[in-house]
Symmetry: C2
Amino acid sequence: MVSRLLDPPAPLAGTDADAVFRALADGTRRDILRRTLGGEHSISALAERYEMSFAAVQKHVAVLDRCGLIEKQRFGKEQLVRARVERIAQASGLLAEFEQLWRDRVGRIDLLIASDYSAEASDHSPNDEPTPNT
Amino acid sequence: MVSRLLDPPAPLAGTDADAVFRALADGTRRDILRRTLGGEHSISALAERYEMSFAAVQKHVAVLDRCGLIEKQRFGKEQLVRARVERIAQASGLLAEFEQLWRDRVGRIDLLIASDYSAEASDHSPNDEPTPNT
DNA sequence: CTAACGTACAACCAAATGGTTTCACGACTT
DNA sequence: AAGTCGTGAAACCATTTGGTTGTACGTTAG
């Protein structure tokens, strides 16, 4: 239990992943993430950077907040926004799992090629275990 | 130019990233991706796995196709779907850039702590260069 | 105290999403 | 030739999204 803090973050699951990827699917929000990865910014400081209204930017920040990609910290009348890398790492991790799945397939194909039992190669349904939503 | 094929794929830019992340923001589509990473499947074979209509699954496949996360290959009357890892790797790469940005910040903070010029530490606007949409 | 600032939130709107049902068409089966 | 299978695409609907404007409220500055 000692190294708990150093463990890679548990990958995103289900609804969480939905929200995180949906949040990432907007250029303005990705830009806000970039800015707040490089240092804290108040919401209005962020808003000055974009051509849309303050309220619009505030909504984007809210989206990022709801899915945990940023955190806000009140500082007097200002609210400082800071990106949460761990959360980004979680999304990253989910994609890494996908890439691993692919490597697994390549491994199986190599096995097939190496083996002599190439007779049943026309079978079309190698994958099972319906794991919807993760 | 020889090692071109081994280069990491150029990271997603702008609208592409929007589409890819939006496509990833749905559990059913992520599941389809997983299945087709493990081997080809026809659209109807995929459709059997989910509780929604065939047309709905077909639409999900279309979304994944439009943003390049899968490719389809006609085989007689069937259309085989296969995930494209490179595209997933591109999304992965964009997130990796984010994590790198964060490491850069940590680096700057370390420098600050190490240096004697801690006088101007109260300045609030370290980041510039508006790079919207990427 | 008053004014200005930073934030929050509600109401509204156009466009996109995720689902449905239905129809059409080419490709195999018999 | 007729029927079934796999696919594509249109029309429709409810919900969500990304933007707007306007209002309200606590905090800081004059």
